[in-house]
Structure formats: structure tokens, C-alpha cells
């Protein structure tokens, strides 16, 4: 027996440094693209903590837009042409829902509906949202772990000239047309991050990192930071030497997708990478900006942030992996 043990020890190859653990804070599309790049490099060492403030109920079903966008993207099922939902989608049930008198402005494909049906059934049976999320991810073969930021209900609402609107009514129903004067995260004060989210932060070492996706800083990253427990877990990780690296979702003064640019302005911020950096400066170590914004680097560095300038537009798989690599090298 000692011989065998000894032989095994001798045959063992020199251990490669394991890839870092990364916890990504993400909203929808931008977060999903960066997560795909990170997953390609890190596999199951990636944990994506997703915003749940956009979650809603439609037709009695629990819909989690940000979680599902990340999940479908990490499962390789995302429809890139349409920019949301699942590939090879059909819309038969939605047509029939309309015929049955249901509102149909929030489009749910047949394939997508299966996700919501399974989720709703499991939630109704008393399963925790986090466990339901993990079941769905495993069924679709996702290597990374995607965690709802909390199992408690948090709902993002925006105040417009038409009063307070829930987020999807503003985002999908009104197509982001109303000007946003105020944002609130109903339930956030009472909501705690899940044990799984806290454990993933606790597991981070100085060789690891927290990455903030190029998502909308107000309504995607905002709800995550609105959780006291998530904010303090981030601060605790930084105190242990874990770097926090954010990627700007504003490039050349414009949002790549969605209303972040207009929302920043109407809420009194600057619609630029600098404007985002100002929002993140007190809890982030490094900031990744696009080459077109290189001239903003000195101003951002003046805030005390390390600046990484690179191409942040994630048009294809290669671009997603390249940006992910740039982010990891910045650790």
C-alpha cells in the first residue's frame, strides 16, 4: 500500500494554478455577454449574481428576465438576432393567450414559457428561488452558477410623468419612452442576499475578483447595491484584498443597449464612462472603459480608480472572451 501511495504521488503532474474564482454582478444582456466570455475562460469557477428587481408575474407565471437572459446565454440558447429570448422560438401560445383576452405586450415564446412554467410550479411547491434557478441551469447544462441576488421579492419601479411604473411596464410596455425622474427598489431594505451569494463572496481570495458587468448602473447594478448585505459583502471582500473591477456600459456617451444614457441624464448624472465611474468610485478598484473613451482615463484615475482601456464592444464570441480576458488580466 505505501508503494502505491508513493507511486501515485510521483505520477502526479505539477499542479497548474487553478483559474481565479470570479463573482460577476450582472443585469441582463450586457451582463450575459460578459458572463459568456468569463465562462469560456473560467467554467464552473464563475458565479453570476443577477439582479432580481426586473422580475415580474405575467399570466400567473414567475418571469425573471435578467436571470433567464444570463441562463440562456450561458447555455448557448440565446437568440442573437432578436437580442433576447431563446433561439428557434415559436409564438403559438402567445397568439392563443391574446385570443383568450390576455395582454400580449410582454412577449413570451413557447420555448421560453417552459422555463416560466417549471419555475412557477416549483415556487408554488415551496422551493426557494435559488434552488429553482439552479435546477433550471443544470437542466440546460450551464457550467457557471447563476444566483438570484436574493430570494426575497424586490421590485424596481421608476417614477415618470405618468407616475410610478413597475420596471417592465416602463421598459417593455412603454418602450422606455417616459423620462425617469426617480427610481426605487421596493422590498430591497428588507431583502438579504442569499446564503449562496454570501458564500460565493466569502470564498473569494485576493487572486480572485468581483466583476461588475457593463449593465445599466441605475436599474441593473442599482438593485444589487441596494441590498445592504451585498454591499457589505463586497466591502468585506475588498478588505481581504479581492479587487472589484467594473466595466462601463456607457461607450462614447451612449448606452450600447437600453435607456441607461437617458436615465443617467434625467437623474442628474453624466451620460459617459466618467458618469458611471463617479457612481461606482467608492466601492470599485478598477474601471474598464472603451478605447473611444480613452481621453476620460485621467479624470477617472483622479477618482482613485485604476483604468483599463480596451475594446469593450462584445459583438461575437471572440469579442466576449477577449474582453473577459482583459478583465481577468486586470486582477
Amino acid at each position: 500500500m505505501p508503494d502505491v501511495a508513493s507511486a501515485t504521488a510521483e505520477a502526479e503532474p505539477p499542479r497548474a494554478t487553478p483559474p481565479p474564482r470570479v463573482a460577476e454582478l450582472a443585469g441582463g444582456v450586457g451582463g450575459a455577454k460578459l458572463a459568456q466570455g468569463l465562462q469560456a475562460l473560467l467554467g464552473d469557477r464563475l458565479t453570476v449574481v443577477v439582479n432580481t428587481g426586473d422580475d415580474l408575474e405575467r399570466h400567473g407565471l414567475a418571469i425573471w428576465p435578467d436571470h433567464d437572459t444570463v441562463m440562456y446565454t450561458l447555455a448557448g440558447l440565446d437568440d442573437r438576432e432578436r437580442g433576447w429570448g431563446i433561439r428557434d422560438e415559436t409564438w403559438t401560445a402567445m397568439d392563443q393567450l391574446g385570443r383568450l383576452g390576455e395582454e400580449t405586450w410582454f412577449r413570451l415564446g413557447d420555448r421560453d414559457l417552459a422555463t416560466h412554467i417549471v419555475r412557477s410550479a416549483r415556487l408554488a411547491a415551496g422551493e426557494r428561488p435559488t434552488d429553482v434557478a439552479r435546477h433550471l441551469q443544470r437542466a440546460l447544462g450551464v457550467a457557471a452558477t447563476i444566483l438570484p441576488m436574493t430570494d426575497a421579492p424586490v421590485r424596481t419601479e421608476v417614477r415618470t410623468d405618468d407616475g410610478w411604473l413597475d420596471f417592465q411596464t416602463y421598459f417593455v410596455g412603454r418602450q422606455q419612452q417616459p423620462t425617469v425622474h426617480e427610481v426605487r427598489f421596493v422590498g430591497a431594505a428588507e431583502a438579504a442576499p442569499t446564503p449562496e451569494v454570501l458564500a460565493s463572496f466569502d470564498a473569494l481570495r485576493p487572486t480572485d475578483a468581483i466583476v461588475v458587468a457593463p449593465s445599466n448602473p441605475i436599474v441593473s447594478v442599482g438593485p444589487l447595491l441596494a441590498l445592504d448585505g451585498l454591499r457589505s459583502a463586497t466591502a468585506a471582500a475588498r478588505a481581504r484584498g479581492v479587487p472589484v473591477i467594473a466595466v462601463s456600459g456607457i461607450v462614447g456617451g451612449r448606452a450600447l443597449k437600453g435607456p441607461a444614457d437617458r436615465m443617467l441624464v434625467s437623474l442628474g448624472h453624466e451620460s459617459s464612462a466618467l458618469g458611471v465611474a463617479l457612481l461606482y468610485a467608492d466601492w470599485v478598484d478598477a474601471f474598464v472603459i472603451d478605447t473611444v473613451d480613452a481621453d476620460l482615463a485621467p479624470a477617472i484615475e483622479a477618482l482613485g480608480l485604476r483604468v483599463v482601456v480596451t475594446d469593450t464592444i462584445m459583438t461575437d464570441d471572440a469579442a466576449r472572451s477577449r474582453l473577459a480576458g482583459d478583465v481577468l488580466r486586470a486582477i
Copy 2:
């Protein structure tokens, strides 16, 4: 003004006798076909009281097989080639449900799913099953009224060599292969017919009728009669002179569809129109049998039933209306 009133009165055509009111007791396919023929002749004067013992929950959704078969048929949406479900159906969600680890032996099409989704949402919101049913029927433009026999849960179970099975596990899951030794209607003893069902019976006059569809006498008509309140409402209508007319679902000793013939035999009855008549004799006035069973007429008449011999096979719209006409003429 008196002139106008007088002129109106004179212009009024002689009133035609309104068509009779008919309450049909129905299961699935056979009940739906006859209901379609009756609806073509009676329009909104038809009320179909459907068996709810087959109802089940799948993927957290409330599925009502008999109600929906009747509803889709009366809405002109039924798929006649497949024999169940909706025409122009697709199966995308079902494929995806399988991918998410769900059992898929109970096939639900995308169009059909819309019904279950809307129903489940409304039930979860606290609506009564009868109100939910009426909402769906109206949305699909059904002229007749289709009423669940009760708003309370009743579940048909069959005892086989594998023990007690819920009905759809036996019917769809095991494809009716196990021999049925016993049948029970769980919850029937505590379940009352809805006020709407009782009102539709109370509204019947001697010129009207209660029609029993050519459905499975054991597991389609059986649960209806298992409700004390429905049985006594039928008896009360008969006492007022309302005829009860049943159509045999057994033709030439065989069930036109489903396991009724084998089930009759394994439960100790005769698989023939006479066998069905024996089950119905104490609460039915007239019995409609197929021409191929004409030789059974004397034996059925000997039970005290009036016998109508006609072609009962409802292959197409014309055949459905013709049988419905024969039934109405028998009143």
C-alpha cells in the same frame, strides 16, 4: 305614442316555438361530438354539464380534459385528425419542458397551454372554476354554456393490478392497458353541483330534456351521478315531466373510443348497449341505440325504457347534427 305601440304590435310576426332547453351530461370526445350537433340546433339554449373527475395538475397547471375537449369542439377548434386538442397545434413548449427534466407523457400543445395558463392564473387569483370556465368559453366564442359539474375537487381513480392509479395515469400514461377492477371518485361525497348546474336543471320544462352523452358510463357519466345533488336534481326534473334521454356509447358491443367496453366487462357488466341500459335504467326514460344493435331493443324496452334506434356514429358535422335531431325528436 299609442299609434307606434299599436303599429309595433301589429308588425310583430307570430312567435315561433323557441327551441327546447337541453342539459347534456357529458364526458370528453363522445360528449363533445353530440354537444356540437345539439349546439348547431339549439345555440345558447344548450348547457353541457361536464365531468371533472379527469381533471389533473401537470407542471403546476390546472388541466381539465373533458371541459376543454367540449370547449374546443364547440368553438370549432378541435383537431379531428388527432382526435384531441386544438387544430394547428405546435409542441415547442413541450419539447422544452422535456429538456428541463419534466415528464412529457401527458402531451400539451402550445395553443392548448394558453388555456391552462390563463385558467391556472385565474384559479390562483381566487376565481371559481365555473367563472373561469365561462371566461374561457366566451373568449373562444362558444354559444352554449359548458359547466363543470362541481367547483369542488373530484378525482377519478381506478384500481388495477398495479394498485390505485389516478385516471390520467391509467388513461394516458398506461394507455388504458391495465385491467380495471374498481373505480372510485375521490371527493364526490363532499362535492355539490354548482348553483349554475342546479339552476340549469331547475329551468327545464317538460318540453325540454336532459341528454346523457354517449360517453363512458363508468368514468365519464359515473362521476356526474356520483354527486348526490346532481342525481337528485335529475330526479326532480323527471318528476316535473322532463325526459332523460341517454345515447349508448357502446355500439355492436364495442366502445367507439376508449376503454369503456373492457372496463364494463372487468367490472362485471355486459359490454353492450343493453349493459349500458341496465346501468341507466332507474334514472333514464329513453335510450338511443345504433341500428346495428336493433335486436337489443326488446330487452331494453323490457327494462321500462323507450328505445330509439338510429345511426349513432358521428363521423362528421352532418352526422352530429342528425343524431342531435333524432335525440330532440325523441323528447
